[in-house]
């Protein structure tokens, strides 16, 4: 608890107030607010990673035949960013991750920060020719990151 006097002192010391715009900018750009710009770090979140079968030269085209019939490629995504205090700003932080963050603050050398990792994964289907001109439609599990979170 902070007393009213202490709060007043802080305000008078010229603490920079945070505008709504700043918060939304920080959230949108993936940066943790509250840290000096020099130490700005990306918060845990899902980032774009697209694998293009077409550009790999694996996708069937009208003239140049190749082995993947569909799809052209897929959005794999990946999880990246830091699970730093306060965890409320991060996506899908588990209760354990919040506790771990606090313990990490107390003993930084012994306890690591929680990890930014996928919390939901989904499958993709790929249709392709094999060596014998047979066609295979195969489901590949856990290929697409649906959501990331702090664990």
């Amino acid at each position: 608890p902070v007393s009213a006097d202490a709060r007043r002192k802080k305000r008078s010391a010229g603490e920079k107030s945070i505008r709504k715009d700043d918060v939304s900018f920080a959230r949108d750009s993936g940066y943790v607010y509250g840290l000096p710009s020099k130490y700005n770090r990306q918060s845990c979140g899902r980032r774009v990673l697209y694998v293009s079968f077409r550009d790999l030269g694996w996708q069937c085209r009208l003239r140049l035949q190749d082995w993947i019939i569909a799809p052209d490629g897929y959005s794999a995504y990946y999880c990246h960013g830091e699970c730093a205090f306060p965890l409320n700003a991060h996506m899908n932080a588990t209760n354990h991750a919040i506790v771990q963050t606090l313990v990490h603050l107390l003993n930084q050398l012994a306890v690591p920060k929680p990890c930014c990792a996928p919390t939901k994964l989904s499958a993709i289907s790929v249709l392709y020719f094999d060596d014998n001109s047979n066609v295979i439609l195969k489901k590949y599990k856990n290929m697409v990151v649906r959501a990331c979170g702090c664990h």
Partner: protein, 262 residues
């Protein structure tokens, strides 16, 4: 001119192209993607000019589209997706019958017929199962044949019985035994895709590929006389590429107790 293949963002809602990898590293990344897909090397594509126009690839593309749209209702697919509807009509593909198989299968594979030319009145089908891992569990399998209406002179001899016989090895290595796998009764005027359940044979060929001697088709008329399947309007390897016979098999991946996490 310089395809990148991998696109990632830089955390600032801007997508950057990962094209600055040296050639050797790019090759390694390609190899990693191939391994993710469970392949040791890049498959050699068919040499035909437009292989996706053939019956089996076209049918499989229809299945792929169905799977992609599985979250939508059947009505939505029928009303709002002409391409899908076209495939469904073309191959008698309806979700009602195949729904369970399509949804629960981990791998669906179509096989090209290597049966060669007809053996007398009999027609031979051979599908190469040597590359299918024996650990895959066969859920079901269908042989698909296209039939045109038969000439009018055949009408008086119908209905016709199509008997699919599994070829087995006998006691002697030269001896072959024919065992009935499936029966189908068709009329002379019937046309379109015929579906034959060959699950039992496919299971044998998957688990013991050395026992695969193919299937024989014997067609008889209502009086028990043998009929050439070509006279009945059945399309063989000489016919149009989009009406060639093929086999589709639905596989379930084996359950791993300790899956390797990558």
């Amino acid at each position: 001119t310089n395809p990148a293949s991998f696109y990632a963002d830089n955390g600032l809602q801007q997508t950057v192209i990962v094209d600055r990898l040296p050639r050797a590293q790019r090759r390694l990344v390609r190899q990693e993607v191939l391994q993710l897909l469970g392949l040791h090397h890049k498959p050699r594509p068919p040499v035909e000019t437009n292989p996706t126009a053939n019956s089996a690839p076209s049918y499989m593309l229809g299945l792929y589209n169905l799977i992609e749209q599985e979250e939508d209702s059947v009505e939505e697919q029928l009303n709002g997706w002409p391409g899908n509807l076209r495939h469904m009509q073309l191959y008698n593909l309806t979700l009602r019958g195949a729904e369970d198989n399509i949804k629960s299968a981990d791998m669906i594979m179509s096989f090209v017929n290597h049966g060669g030319s007809p053996f007398g009145m009999h027609r031979r089908f051979f599908f190469d199962f040597s590359e299918v891992p024996a650990t895959e569990k066969v859920m079901s399998a269908e042989l698909r044949l296209f039939k045109h209406p038969a000439p009018r002179v055949m009408m008086s001899r119908g209905p016709f019985k199509m008997e699919f016989k599994l070829v087995r090895q006998g006691r002697d290595w030269e001896e072959r035994i024919l065992e009935t796998e499936a029966n189908l009764t068709v009329s002379a005027m019937e046309s379109g895709w015929l579906t034959v359940n060959v699950s039992r044979a496919t299971r044998e060929w998957t688990y013991y590929s050395s026992t695969n001697y193919g299937l024989y088709l014997v067609t008889t008329d209502a009086y028990g006389y043998e009929v050439d399947a070509a006279d009945l309007g059945l399309v063989d390897e000489e016919g149009p590429s989009d009406q060639q016979p093929f086999l589709v098999s639905f596989f379930k991946a084996p359950q791993k107790l300790h899956p390797k996490v990558s």
